[in-house]
Symmetry: C2
Subunit: 176 residues, 2 copies
């Protein structure tokens, strides 16, 4: 099971970035997301996407990061541009069934570097926690997230031009 | 040469997302970014990052998307969750030296689907243009962006715990 912990979330400033972090977590194969600051609007937005597009992804805001880190019995990966090279620990991380991926906002508390099993840099340049999470999960799942079927009310059919969206109520055995 | 065109940018609402798009473009190997709406603050932010962390990345805001698309002589890839599967056209795209990657904000004008050589979905689930751009460029460059050396005033040294930042003024032949 993959879960994502977002720390340092400031609802006013980070609402769109944290929303993107959560949507990436869901689309790229995570099952759960925890956010340290309470944010009902964020929860509603993500649950609305899950309601329309399917999947069992859950989000919980207003949690204590320290409690989550203490209670998590699996592996903890902190994504930071200061960390080790991405490929260095990937093999080791893949051996774990349960991986908690921690992504911070601009500043993260110092304890996080020690509380994590590995500190990983998805490139040592400043870019985006959204991008770092996406590339990390893409590598971790070896691209398998792309094949995941979400059985939602709405389903998008890959299309070379324009948009094709169908109802998720499919006939038995029918694939999109 | 890889360039990125961001369309539908609304400075107030999209400032952070477009900043992340631009930082991903720079870090993941693009040389240029065009943004359709004038936004001096965004330009300043990105130029400040380039000034500190190095590289030749340029950003121009307040451009006409239609003009850029008309003048671009290379391949045009539009990233959209409605598009074809990511892997389907990757081989074809890689044959081109010059690739313009178009990423829209929430709604994109219909002409874009026709003006692009391919419409590509980095997964057919709603997530993030920041993530879509990152994963697309990661695949396009086959991860080579991770090896790119930016000769900046500040250089981050990969590190298993904490932060290590050095001055980019290195001795001849010294590698980080």
């Amino acid at each position: 099971m993959i879960a994502v912990l977002r720390i340092g979330h400031r609802p006013d400033r980070d609402k769109r970035i944290t929303t993107h972090v959560a949507l990436v977590a869901r689309a790229f194969g995570a099952e759960k997301m925890f956010v340290d600051t309470k944010d009902r609007k964020l929860e509603e937005t993500i649950r609305s996407v899950c309601g329309r597009f399917g999947g069992d992804f859950t989000i919980k805001t207003g949690v204590s990061a320290k409690t989550i880190l203490t209670q998590w019995t699996g592996f903890v990966v902190h994504l930071t541009m200061y960390g080790e090279k991405l490929d260095k620990s990937l093999k080791k991380i893949k051996k774990n069934n349960d991986v908690l991926v921690v992504v911070g906002a601009e500043k993260v508390p110092a304890f996080l570097y020690e509380a994590s099993d590995v500190n990983i840099a998805v490139g040592n340049q400043p870019h985006s926690e959204v991008a770092a999470l996406a590339v990390f999960l893409d590598r971790l799942t070896e691209g398998k997230w792309l094949e995941e079927k979400f059985k939602g009310k709405l389903m998008i059919v890959p299309c070379s031009r324009g948009k094709k969206v169908v109802s998720g109520k499919r006939k038995k055995g029918e694939n999109l």
